[in-house]
Symmetry: C2
Subunit: 284 residues, 2 copies
């Protein structure tokens, strides 16, 4: 296996053309750069196969529709993903990011590409060692976000500045990640993942209102239901996180990371992480 750190990112256009990451691709007047206008998806590719690709492409279509962007159809994206997957010479697990920027002002078509990178050693480690999280106020409530489509709460856009700022704030305050809480106290989501809790043999996640529809959560819930877990979407509060048997952050690349502390207070995963990892088919 190639040394993880030495594998360079690989970039493909949707026609299969491969580009070096050092090669500039975006114009300085691309609205994806100037205004964060565009959409993206991230998926894990294991041994050359992209996980849940159909669901990621469907969600990307929703994000594009929400932001008034006309993007190529699923087949075109599959072609781009295949180009990077087939030419990847790094480790077993790589992260493919599908990106569509709006393009320059007068553009009629977005600039689309797929970029793949090695799964980061940090993500790999956090799957088992877990993450320390801070609860951070997201400002709005789920209902407000839902009734204000311009807030783009359910779209995965290139305007991820707030999400990144929340992660930086966490890092500056002795934590690894954050969980956004609405102004009415309801748990929303993490900056780059969804929240799942266990309460005896029940898995719970916040309803998809004012948050992104989590693909990894859905996959986990399907697998868990098939072996007898109850699974529900339900409004959760900070107290539910504290009293739960376990809390996890679910996302497409890191997959499932146990929350080992909340606002500095340690908590256990109820010994459940290995079982949930098996249900999610988390690769080792």
């Amino acid at each position: 296996m190639t040394d993880h750190r030495s594998t360079r990112p690989l970039v493909a256009l949707l026609d299969g053309t491969l580009l070096a990451p050092e090669q500039p691709l975006l114009r300085p007047d691309d609205l994806g750069v100037l205004r964060g206008e565009g959409v993206f998806e991230t998926t894990l590719v294991v041994d050359g196969t992209a996980r849940d690709l159909s669901e990621h492409l469907a969600r990307m279509g929703v994000s594009a529709a929400t932001t008034g962007l006309s993007i190529p159809g699923p087949d075109a994206w599959r072609h781009g993903v295949a180009a990077v997957s087939d030419n990847w010479s790094g480790g077993r697990q790589m992260v493919a990011r599908l990106v569509a920027t709006r393009g320059p002002d007068a553009a009629v078509e977005p600039v689309c590409y797929v970029i793949c990178t090695e799964l980061s050693p940090v993500s790999l480690r956090q799957r088992t060692e877990g993450v320390r999280v801070l609860l951070l106020d997201r400002g709005f409530t789920a209902a407000e976000a839902e009734s204000a489509p311009w807030l783009l709460a359910g779209a995965k856009t290139l305007s991820y500045g707030v999400n990144m700022a929340a992660l930086r704030y966490a890092a500056e305050h002795d934590a690894d990640d954050a969980i956004f809480v609405a102004s009415d106290g309801a748990v929303l989501e993490a900056p780059t993942s969804s929240v799942v809790i266990a309460r005896s043999r029940t898995l719970l996640t916040p309803p998809v209102r004012g948050i992104l529809a989590g693909i990894t959560v859905r996959r986990l819930f399907r697998a868990a239901a098939s072996v007898g877990w109850q699974t529900f979407a339900q409004v959760l509060h900070a107290d539910d996180l504290r009293s739960a048997d376990g809390v996890w952050l679910a996302s497409s690349a890191r997959l499932l990371a146990p929350v080992v502390s909340i606002n500095g207070v340690r908590r256990s995963d109820g010994g459940l992480t290995a079982e949930l990892h098996a249900l999610l088919e988390v690769p080792s």
Copy 2:
């Protein structure tokens, strides 16, 4: 004078190197593209001179500090602005945008450039003909935004997706622009401008809490105060907008546009726009 529509944008790096806008500049893995991580400023250049450049550079420094970005100092930016200004062959009024993207993941220095474009005919027209605005909920309150630095409410970042979505929403609903209102009803700002109202010989604008500090408003207030207007920062509500003698959107390129309707209800500018334009030295 060169025909407005035929003048192409001009791009300069901070060392003065000129680039064609068609020439790709940003790597596909630049976090400015992938995450909307970066900061910018926009200023009007009239007859080769950038307006309020010192204040824009100071505010860009604040935005960079808020987002943990280390950007070059004012002199470097002035060099880039001079490069585009000196080589501009278009009309008298052009818009210079100063951009710093975070760069690729491992980058220690941001990618910095200045891009200038002709002032759009729409902006020029709206200075006198005005804008129809919708009041749109911004989700949070000013106090919430102020106590949650990760919401980046006071920084001018490349994650402008919500601002652009609000403008698209307005355009889809028979309006030209929007004014964001906090969840407690306080008027905040417009997606790309500040709000100013007149009440007899007093000019009012919302306090700089959870919003960007408006440079054009400050300039207008200084000039107005010098000829006897009272000027205050004060919490305003929708009723204040309706009962005001006039309402304007102030920004660096369009400068000052009267609000001619709010949520579909026409309103006058109290015959004050020409006087305020003169105070702001709005070029014709």
